[in-house]
């Protein structure tokens, strides 16, 4: 069985673009849509927003690697 989750699928579709534009930030996705980007200091606030907008969903929260971090992965 192949794993399916709308939030994960959204991330998969946009991850390379997020790395270019938001590397070093965090992304929050809920209800299959982008909630926003945040630096770690503001992450809790954005998680609260995701839970408020999509109370039945488990929000996806992920750091976005910087381009140089991807290059350095062994």
């Amino acid at each position: 069985m192949r794993y399916h989750n709308p939030n994960d699928e959204f991330l998969s579709r946009h991850l390379s673009e997020f790395v270019k534009e938001h590397g070093g930030e965090w992304v929050i996705i809920a209800g299959g849509e982008l909630i926003g980007f945040a630096y770690k200091e503001n992450l809790t606030k954005l998680i609260k927003k995701a839970r408020k907008l999509h109370p039945a969903d488990t929000p996806l929260v992920s750091p976005i690697p910087k381009e140089e971090e991807i290059e350095c992965i062994l």
């Binding site: 794993y3 390379s16 809790t44 488990t58 996806l60 929260v61």
Partner: protein, 133 residues
């Protein structure tokens, strides 16, 4: 045998075994992404996720971990429920505010032991977790 297949994630034309999994706090859960690292013993996640889950780390075990560049990072280790695909189980997870690599890391301890097989299919760019019920 049951199985769940995750497609690798593409980052800048590189495909990586980054999978979604759920971390459970006392009242809330978060879907997070982690790089499946068969060379790592422990799973290390960003401390920000512990804050987002409102985890109580007062009684967590403090431990230093060696990371890829050879440096030591401090982390707080607890046992907590996680879910991979449909499978929910208790696992040792370390949280650190010094994991400065842009990825959470899913290591072997508690995860590779739970599943009967974890197969990296490089040619298909997918990773398979297999288990018996």
């Amino acid at each position: 045998m049951h199985s769940i297949i995750f497609s690798y994630k593409e980052l800048n034309r590189r495909f990586m075994p980054i999978i979604p999994l759920t971390l459970y706090g006392p009242r809330e859960s978060l879907l997070v992404e982690a790089y499946v690292d068969s060379g790592a013993t422990f799973s290390i996640f960003s401390l920000e996720l512990a804050k987002g889950l409102k985890l109580d780390l007062k009684n967590a075990r403090r431990q230093m971990f060696v990371v890829g560049d050879g440096s030591f990072i401090p982390a707080q280790l607890i046992k907590m429920p996680i879910q991979v695909g449909e499978e929910k189980f208790i696992c040792d997870i370390a949280f650190s505010d010094r994991l400065n690599v842009g990825f959470n890391l899913l290591g072997r301890l508690g995860v590779f032991e739970y599943f009967d097989e974890i197969i990296f299919r490089e040619s298909k760019k997918e990773i398979v977790f297999r288990w018996k019920k």
